[in-house]
Symmetry: C2
């Protein structure tokens, strides 16, 4: 069955790395691992059916009209967990105001499987809510019906890769162990939420409240909710950038003025704003705020080498952006620009003329929006202090009679996990066994706030172990998950648990 699957896969969309894989697998896998893997292969059709069932429930958290489906999805998932023998319950989070209505938040599912004090305990996180999707957005197929394209080996449907496929990966792995009569080598705790696509409202508070009860005894955390860097090589992700978002407000006249009458007469807030915001960052991306660069942790040789081996070519960026506008033509420099250095982006202006056409207005009050992405050892507080001082100093220099205020809107610390921790060692070994290659050790440029919550509150190592690929289109039309990523990814999650148990 296993080889059958493979020969099927190779006729469709074979990742190039699989050519050396079968040999590696037979060399590395234990007898139990082989048994588990065979069971997954045998279950393939049923696993796809299970994903189709999950995708058919339109659990869109951002639209009040779909709130019932979020509850249906929670009920469905709770029942699946219970079928596998887990203790699990729905944790209500209270109400929220959405689209003008006060409605109940989708619950969080907290569950346990196994309480053996001799085993390690792994907390797995996932989310069962999805982004909105309508056929009329431009989908080629019905978004809430999983469509399997045998020719390309892809399964299309909202939530297939983000994040129903990965959640089911855990359930599939447990089921296969039970079917094959293999003891699960770790204790598992589950935290599955239904509001991830809408700001994870209420989750942090629940984790904080359950820190010393439900979450007690967790040894490490594994989150499967991101993607490979490219389309061919698996990766583990051990870092995320933080953020510090600012609003720079400049106000002068009490109302918008006509530039014919008042141009040349008053200090114009827009001119002040452009003068100040142009001093934040150069066109090449260099941050000009003094003291920022000094906060960045120095690059180590070990880390530097990782960028050279990553599955990445500049054309990946060119494909994703639809342009050839990278700040560097050097692969490692581009990767480090995303992963391990800060950046400063100017997002827009509130209060200025923003429509098409021409208008000769002197806007009375304008609010420039910009943010920095943070990396260790930057903190939102320290960045706020440096930016505020710099902006105030620069505004004082220009001698404007307008009024300037800079406010820090929201901040999130960067997160960086130690990739030499046993949690990562286990995932690396499992990846080598399944995919026949060492995974890339990546960091991501954006933030996944729950990662930081787990790391901070539980003080345990957190691992991001993706199932899908960079081209899955998680928040776009025609979201997909390759069958190979689903099946091999399920095997990977199972083997990861074996390797966790095997580490010291």
């Amino acid at each position: 069955m296993y080889l059958d699957l493979y020969s099927h896969r190779f006729t469709t969309s074979p990742p190039s790395i699989f050519s050396t894989h079968i040999h590696t697998f037979h060399k590395m896998a234990t007898a139990e691992q082989k048994k588990f893997v065979s069971q997954i292969d045998a279950n393939k059709a049923a696993l796809i059916d299970r994903l189709a069932e999950a995708v058919s429930i339109p659990s869109v958290s951002g639209d009040a009209n779909y709130r019932k489906a979020c509850f249906d999805m929670a009920d469905w998932l709770l029942a699946e967990l219970k079928k596998l023998g887990a203790t699990a319950e729905l944790k209500p989070l209270g109400k929220q105001n959405l689209d003008g209505k006060e409605i109940e938040l989708p619950p969080v599912i907290l569950g346990d499987l196994g309480k053996d004090p001799k085993k390690k305990t792994i907390l797995v996180y996932g989310h069962f809510d999805v982004q909105p999707a309508l056929k009329s957005d431009g989908w080629d197929t019905e978004p809430f019906k999983l469509i399997t394209d045998e020719k390309t080996g892809r399964m299309y449907g909202r939530g297939s890769t983000d994040d129903k496929g990965p959640i089911l990966g855990w359930l599939n792995a447990i089921e296969a162990h039970q079917q094959a009569g293999i003891d699960l080598p770790v204790n598992l705790k589950f935290c599955f939420e239904g509001m991830e696509e809408s700001g994870s409202v209420g989750l942090d508070e629940l984790i904080a409240a359950e820190k010393d009860s439900f979450f007690q005894g967790v040894d490490a955390v594994c989150i499967s909710d991101n993607y490979w860097l490219g389309t061919k090589k698996p990766c583990l992700t051990h870092g995320l950038r933080g953020i510090a978002y600012f609003k720079l407000a400049i106000s002068g006249p009490a109302r918008d003025l006509h530039s014919g009458v008042f141009g040349g007469v008053v200090h114009e807030p827009m001119t002040d704003l452009f003068t100040i915001m142009s001093k934040l960052v150069t066109a090449k991306g260099e941050i000009l705020v003094p003291g920022i660069k000094e906060l960045v942790a120095p690059l180590t040789d070990e880390e530097r080498k990782r960028y050279d081996v990553m599955d990445f070519v500049l054309s990946d960026i060119e494909g994703a952006t639809g342009s050839k506008t990278t700040v560097s033509d050097d692969k490692a420099a581009v990767l480090m620009g995303r992963m391990r250095y800060p950046c400063l982006s100017l997002h827009g202006i509130e209060g200025a003329f923003s429509e098409p056409g021409t208008k000769t207005v002197i806007p009375a009050k304008v609010i420039g929006k910009f943010s920095l992405r943070l990396v260790p050892d930057m903190t939102p507080d320290k960045v706020n202090e440096l930016v505020t001082k710099y902006v105030n100093d620069e505004f004082a220099k220009i001698g404007s009679k307008n009024t300037m205020t800079i406010t820090s809107e929201h901040g999130g610390k960067p997160w960086l996990a130690d990739p030499n921790h046993w949690n990562y060692e286990a995932a690396i070994k499992a990846t080598e066994t399944i995919y026949g290659v060492k995974p890339d050790l990546t960091r991501e440029g954006g933030s996944i706030p729950v990662t930081l919550t787990f790391a901070d509150l539980l003080q345990k190592n957190v691992l991001l172990l993706p199932m899908g690929r960079s081209d899955d289109g998680a928040h776009s039309i025609n979201e997909k998950l390759d069958i190979s990523n689903y099946i091999e990814g399920t095997k990977l999650l199972g083997l990861y648990l074996h390797e966790v148990a095997a580490t010291a």
Copy 2:
């Protein structure tokens, strides 16, 4: 009657300059002029009634629902002209597309009164359309019902000062001549349009077409459609700034990007835009485009002296802008900043994030909007050349892979009339007779396109002779015209014609 009127006025809102006025008037006015002025005073109640009738027709040109009222207003005005013995006709301008409907443009009224080859011929321009107005906009009274407040001496209503009061001023003056049995000392031509508040669609073409027919024989032009600089002293306006409007487009990626994923990776169009636009003008208003300053005609001593005597204090600007943000604390510098120097204003950005809240977007294509106000000897073409070269040079310096284009959107030449021309001498003398003071000789910062059209096409001196005051609120709620400005302004228009006839 005349003294009665004055004693009334002084108990209400007397402009301070009137204290010396009666003596001056009796010394300067001829017997015929005195007779005309007495007739206006005698007509006061009827003249207010006539204005009330005009205001009651809601001739809003910018809203298709009011288009019938624009035609009604044209018919009403045509009938009034004919009652006075003028030959006049409605000139159709064709159709326009407004609010999705194709509708007929309001006609222009072209009329003649007198064809005596021994008399000078003065062309007077005005507009009978008005800005939109709804009680719910915040008006204290019904906008299309003229409300006279006897305590303050003010008449409130849409169009009272802009521009129905001034148009009726001409008609009132003619009628008083006829009633008093005084021969009108000049030939008059009338050009009254109904689209001024909506871009004067079709007017330029009509003037060009009628240049050698209807407009043949005009000796000078008088437009009463602007305002005193302040609230106490009359003025004549002999200059208007021109404009050159630019769009600076910078595009990079094919779609908006997430700053977490692509910040630090690509050249960001917003950063380029801020870098370039910040190099156009300093916070103090100095234009940084090389060659612009050199185009500005030097200040003469004669002109310099005018700014010192103008009825203006810095608090006028502070009142109008609701702020103390003038670029200079020197009165003459502020006036010259508005009237005789260019300026550069940054209006806004199309394509960037402009809503409230925070969004971590890297906009894919942004279009910065800015414009310069032009003074002699700047021309839109020359400014376009200098700005385009400078912006291209600066963009080349920053080494961005994004694409930049600068386009000139629309341009208008500055206008400057010779205030030593007999047309101005006549208005100065008439103002001294009526108001007992030499008028300020002002220039305005904005543009009134028809002024330039008349000056260019007819090659005749154009005079702007305002009736209302700076605080009339022409385009705002509670638009008003002081009774004194209406009555004295009517006298001024009549006496101006006498002085035109008396000049060599």
